[in-house]
Amino acid sequence: MAFRFHLLLLLFAIVSASVQAELTLSKVDRKIDLSSHIVRVTSTLKVENLGPGVASEVLLAVPDYQANNLADLRAVINEGKSSIVLHIEHFSPEVSRPEFTFYSISLTKGLEKGQSVTLDVFSAFTHSVIPFPEEITQADSQLILYKDSAYFVSPHAVKVQTLRIKLPSARVEAYTNIQNTKFNGTSIRYGPYENLPPFSSLPITVHFENNRPFAVAKQLVREIEISHWGNVQVTEHYRLFHGGALNKGGFSRINYQSRQVIGGISSFRSLLARLPPRAHSVYYRDEIGNISTSHLWGDSRKTELEIEPRYPMFGGWRTSFTIGYGLPLHDFLFESEGKHLLDITFGCPMDEVVIDELFVKVVLPEGSKDISASTPFPTKQWQEVKFSHLDIVGRPVVVLQKTNVVPEHNLHFQVHYRFNNLSLLMEPMMLISGFFFLFVSCIVYMRVDMSISKTSASYQAKLQWEEMQATVQQARSIINRCLAIHDKLDASLRDLSRTGDVQQCKSTRKAADGMLKELSKELKPLLGVLQSSPQASQIWPKVEELAVKEREMQERLMLKHSTVVDSFEKKSGGRDIENRIASHQQKISALRHEIDDLLDAIDEI
């Protein structure tokens, strides 16, 4: 009786909060889907206003044993073809009922007396199915207990209601049998029950078999790194375990290998990740290296990655791994009003994985400003800084945290930020300037004289040595020029034999003679320097010999030249000329040979 009174009081409070509107649920159809380890409840509520006031919100009550596991709650009004998602928020009534958590659904327009509206309320619960027995062997299949109320628990009175529980398999150990219970194959039907007062409940239990993978990620960290060079790199770090009945009695490989059905029916071997289309550079690894058991398919609309953990996952077994992939930037990044907008999915790409704690870290390029993130459901947000390749101040990171995440949260969220595209060039410029300074410092090191004492003997000797080398180089180049002139003279002789132009040949000889004289004049001071230099003691005799040989060759060549020209003027025969210059020729070639050898010898020093 006291309870009744209490309840009335509460009702009164609620009713007064919505100005004398009195809502009843004229029809409730609930469907509970137990086919996976996420419990999905879809309720169709027909709400009717009986009171005089205008009702703007509808209350939902969730019993506390379920409230902590509530992952997702949403309500939709179906109006014709379009459906409107309604706003839901946490509600604390004036008279507290600690065994319930309340949510209020705000209707789009007030509900006046006598009017009714049909809502679809969808909720998802995690960790609500409990394995019983808690420990099973490898061969056993997994049995699951689910507890709920046969009546829709609501702060409003319910006129007619039904409940349908969908099961994954036909094997049911037990279920609570009350009035109007029907069991057919893979589903149990309760109801209809009529005219139940607010907060009425009737506990029911279902005990059934479920061998679907119970993959639970204790923690998932998704890192989404944006590079304005055209890539979005997604890295996901999973810490996964099998949330079903614990494995006992060890693991026998031979049973697992040869009799798969009875040797590991409750385990799962692989997971399927549905990645966005055009995902590339996919990898799958863990702390100790690459995991080679994965398969990737893809077409223009999707990319599917099937990953196998290193070992089959039995109840209670844990694993951890990382998958990463790159996505084309233009699929996810948009620009509006000078701001960039990243639009990408929030949750994990895998089927039926429950995530206890999810961190989504969006790493923006260095130098991003005015960062804000918007998500379709409440999350905890803060910012961090991450240092990556060639960063100076670090990259801003937006962190979004959410607990109890189910696949229904796999919605798009947005991050807005400002980024100047010129900053893109900063890192290449840094690299270029780094190499530039490296080379400059090399050049400086090679060119700049870094000796401490400028008067020490060794330093002086080094200077002298360099000077001497330069002199030898000059002398060499002069000799080379002389040799070039010799070649020219030879060429003029050949021309003569071809054209018979004696005058030109003579003029060539004259010019060559003048040039050779000039060169020997240039050579003289150099030879003097070398002779006096103490460093050149080794090289001096060679250079001297070279100069002497060169002079001798000059003379011989001139002699030969004049002989040829003379005999040509005298019109002597070719044979005759050849005989006359033969001795010269022999000598010249011998000299030339010696000079070449000397030049080589000097070069080697």
Binding site: G249, G250, F251, S252, R253, I254, Q257, S258, D286, E287, I288, G289, N290, I291, S292, T293, R310, Y311, G316, W317, R318, T319, S320, F387, S388, H389, L390, D391, I392, G434, Q473, D490, R494, E578, A582, Q585, Q586, S589, R592, H593, D596, D603
Partner: protein
């Protein structure tokens, strides 16, 4: 016409551009040399990346996992924590003082590299740094080989040496990417020390000697092979003394390098006073004393002390009291006081010897006679020294040599006395085939190089000859010392190649020059006569030279091909991941080790103790992150013998040992399904031997039938029921491994197993990997 003139102007512009770019011969040579060296640098790095391309960027084999684990610890906790690290995850329940029982050079190097890379803002994981440390140092070794070759012979020999060592399989075997082991950096340090020492001997410069000492310090910090240096260098000095090549340069180089090197080496905790007390180092001490005698030993010894005190002071100021375990001044003084009398006596003696020698030299007044005299004296001194060492060893003052060192001098020693050393395959004597495999043509070029070295004898070539000959001996004794011989082989072969090629090309060049000259001459008759005369003087020279050159290039290209093949086929397997050819020619990967280690890491209690044979200890601690009973450090023979005994006993007895060691899981490696031959059953006899060495209850003959080791029906009853057999073959009898064979057919040994009905009483199968390579059993005490 216009077109031709345009062509003319164009061609003249082109030629002028070429002319402006035209470099002097010297510059050309420099350009070619530097670019060749750069290419060699890149080649040495990239040839070692086969393993990364074939498999992945991962750490290989056994010891590298320990090095990797310690490097990670160092980078996470800093140097002091690393230095004072007591590791309770290995050698349960004894634990291991990591800081005092390892050579920290490798870890510190990788850590510093990682820090440097992070400092210039490259976010690279420490694992990548560790994987690429060995190739990076291999490239550096090639550069050092160039410098060394240049110092010993000429730049050509240096370049050839760099090219040879860059791809030498003997070196690649220990320095592929992922083989993160001490040897990776130690060969670089070894060669650098030798190079700097030879440089110091050639120049007599104190600074080179100092650099050599520091390089030696680095070597000591990186690898136990420093013993080779500290024995080879004195031996070299002794040889120079005996051959009368002793000089002031040598004196400066050796004394500076030895004294400082010794003091620096003592800073490494794992080495400590061993460096001056253990028998392996005595040769150096004696030669130094002898050597000192020739100038003034007393002063030098005092200088030692001063240097030591100053050094210790620096160490203490710099490292502060945090480093309590480091060698302190006080302990140094205690040591000094103990040894002073001995040193002083030697010092005084040698001083007198010196004056005496001087006097004798003066008396004899003939260098030849004096040299003979010196030779005799030195020989006497050496024998006296040997006697002193003998007495010292007998009286226990000088610690005896370690087993590994004994087995170097007597290859059969380990086999008879220390099974734990003999059980390691890399400690076996080397087969001829592996010499051929690892050196290829170097094996033939080596004697040729020795010939060239003897032809042009100098201090440097004597060094390289001694290095080559001693390291060849050691390479013959132990497989893994092929590594030490590789640089010497490459250098000496490079001398042979370079000298031969140089001779041949100089023949070709002189010939072609004569031809060029004669052809430029124009008139035909003289040209012909000249050519004829030249040809007569050197018949077939040109053709012969060309043939020989082509032959040399053919040989060298065969070498390059062989090296690439060996690297890709033999030395690039991480041995964690096994690869095999499948039935249809595809590559099949067996990743069972990591499967098992990751299972341990994820699904056992964090303080679980794993018992396995010691080979897998490092991998279990590094990848499985669990405590092990024994690991590859093998410092406690008894502990390993206990594990061996457990594996060799019946299950009840083994279970008592397992309980007494607090073991939760037992891990065995089994290749019967895949045909993987280096599994625990094949190693089992070593377990028996090592176990039996400490616990006489384990007798090897109990496991053999007529001296034959077998696992089939004819096996010994004890074999069929010992723990190792049971764990390996548990429920294996139900499995058909090969078509057409009965169930329980062991593919690794090719027999049907003898005991198919294995029942375990105290242990329970906890996990078996997908190819059965690793099997893990849970002790029932932890149920």
């Amino acid at each position: 016409m216009a077109a031709t003139s345009a062509m003319d102007s164009l061609s003249s512009a082109a030629t002028s551009a070429v002319k402006s770019l035209k470099l002097r011969t010297k510059q050309q040579e420099l350009l070619i040399r530097v670019s060749t060296l750069c290419l060699i640098y890149v080649l040495a790095f990239s040839i070692r990346l086969f393993s990364v391309l074939r498999y992945e960027s991962m750490i290989h084999e056994f010891d590298p996992y320990f090095n990797y684990r310690t490097t990670v610890y160092l980078s996470e906790n800093g140097f002091y924590e690393f230095w004072n690290w007591f590791d309770s995850e290995s050698w349960y329940p004894l634990g291991r003082i990591i800081g005092g029982t390892l050579y920290p050079g490798l870890m510190v190097t990788a850590h510093l590299l990682h820090r440097a890379i992070s400092a210039i803002r490259f976010a690279v994981h420490i694992r990548e740094v560790c994987v690429l440390t060995a190739p990076f140092f291999a490239s550096n070794t090639a550069v050092v080989a160039y410098l060394f070759g240049k110092e010993v012979w000429d730049t050509g020999a240096g370049l050839v040496a760099a090219a040879l060592i860059a791809v030498c399989p003997g070196y690649i075997s220990r320095s592929v990417a992922g083989s993160y082991d001490n040897e990776g950096v130690a060969i670089f340090a070894l060669l650098l020390t030798f190079y700097l020492f030879v440089k110091a001997v050639n120049t007599g410069s104190l600074s080179w000697a100092l650099a050599s000492a520091f390089s030696y310090f680095y070597m000591v910090s990186a690898w136990g092979g420093y013993v080779f240096i500290i024995n080879l260098v004195p031996l070299y000095v002794l040889v120079l003394l005996v051959t009368g090549r002793y000089s002031m340069r040598l004196y400066v180089a050796y004394n500076c390098m030895y004294v400082l090197g010794c003091l620096l080496a003592m800073q490494i905790r794992f080495v400590g006073f061993q460096h001056v007390q253990s028998g392996e180092h005595m040769a150096a001490m004696e030669v130094r004393n002898l050597n000192d005698g020739e100038v003034d030993s007393y002063v030098a010894q005092l200088n030692d002390l001063q240097a030591a005190v100053v050094w210790q002071g620096i160490m203490i100021v710099v490292w502060k009291p945090k480093l309590r375990d480091a060698v302190s001044v006080r302990s140094f003084y205690e040591w000094w006081r103990r040894r002073r009398s001995r040193l002083l006596i030697i010092g005084q003696n040698s001083k007198e010897v010196f004056y005496f020698l001087d006097y004798v030299k003066h008396l004899l007044n003939d260098p030849k006679l004096f040299n003979d005299f010196l030779r005799i004296t030195v020989t006497c001194a050496v024998s006296v020294g040997a006697l002193a060492i003998g007495v010292g060893t007998a009286s226990g003052y000088i610690s005896p040599w370690t087993g590994r060192f004994y087995s170097l001098l007597d290859p059969t020693y380990a086999k008879d006395h220390i099974p734990i050393i003999a059980s390691v395959s890399e400690h076996q004597p080397t087969a001829w085939s592996s010499f051929m495999f690892d050196f290829h043509i170097l094996l033939f070029l080596f004697p040729a190089g020795l010939y060239f070295c003897f032809k042009r004898l100098s201090d440097a070539t004597i060094f390289i000859v001694m290095y080559g000959l001693t390291s060849m001996y050691f390479a013959g004794v132990m497989v893994r010392l092929i590594l030490v011989a590789a640089p010497a082989m490459c250098l000496i072969s490079a001398i042979a190649v370079s000298a031969t090629l140089k001779n041949l090309t100089s023949l070709l060049r002189s010939k072609s020059k004569v031809q060029a000259v004669s052809s430029s001459k124009g008139t035909s008759s003289t040209k012909a006569s000249m050519k004829a005369s030249l040809d007569q003087s050197l018949p077939f020279q040109r053709n012969g030279a060309i043939t020989l050159l082509l032959g040399a290039f053919y040989l060298l290209s065969r070498y390059a091909i062989h090296c690439t093949w060996v690297t890709s086929e033999a030395y690039s397997s991480p041995s964690i991941v096994l690869a095999a050819r499948g039935a249809y020619g595809g590559r099949v990967i067996f990743d069972d080790y990591r499967e098992a280690y990751f299972w341990l890491r994820q699904n056992t209690a964090p303080d679980a103790k794993i018992m396995s044979w010691w080979d897998y200890g490092y991998q279990i601690t590094a990848m499985g992150n669990r405590t092990v009973i024994v690991d590859n450090n093998t410092w406690n023979n008894t502990h390993i013998a206990t594990v061996g005994r457990a594996m060799a006993s019946y299950e009840d007895e083994a279970y008592e040992i397992i309980q007494s060691l607090d073991v939760d899981y037992v891990l065995v490696v089994f290749g019967g399904v895949t045909g993987y031959s280096s599994d625990d059953i094949n190693k089992f006899l070593w377990m028996v031997r090592i176990g039996g060495g400490v616990f006489p209850v384990i007798k090897e003959p109990d496991y053999l039938v007529n001296g034959e080791y077998r696992v089939d029906k004819g096996a010994a009853p004890k074999m069929l029921n010992c723990l190792m057999y049971k764990l390996s073959y548990y429920r294996f009898g139900e499995l058909t491994t090969e078509y057409g064979q009965p169930p329980g057919y062991d593919r690794a040994r090719g027999v049907e197993i003898g005991n198919k009905n294995v029942k375990l009483e105290h242990l329970e199968e906890a996990f078996t990997t997908s190819n059965w390579i690793v099997r893990i059993y849970k002790s029932s005490a932890t149920f």
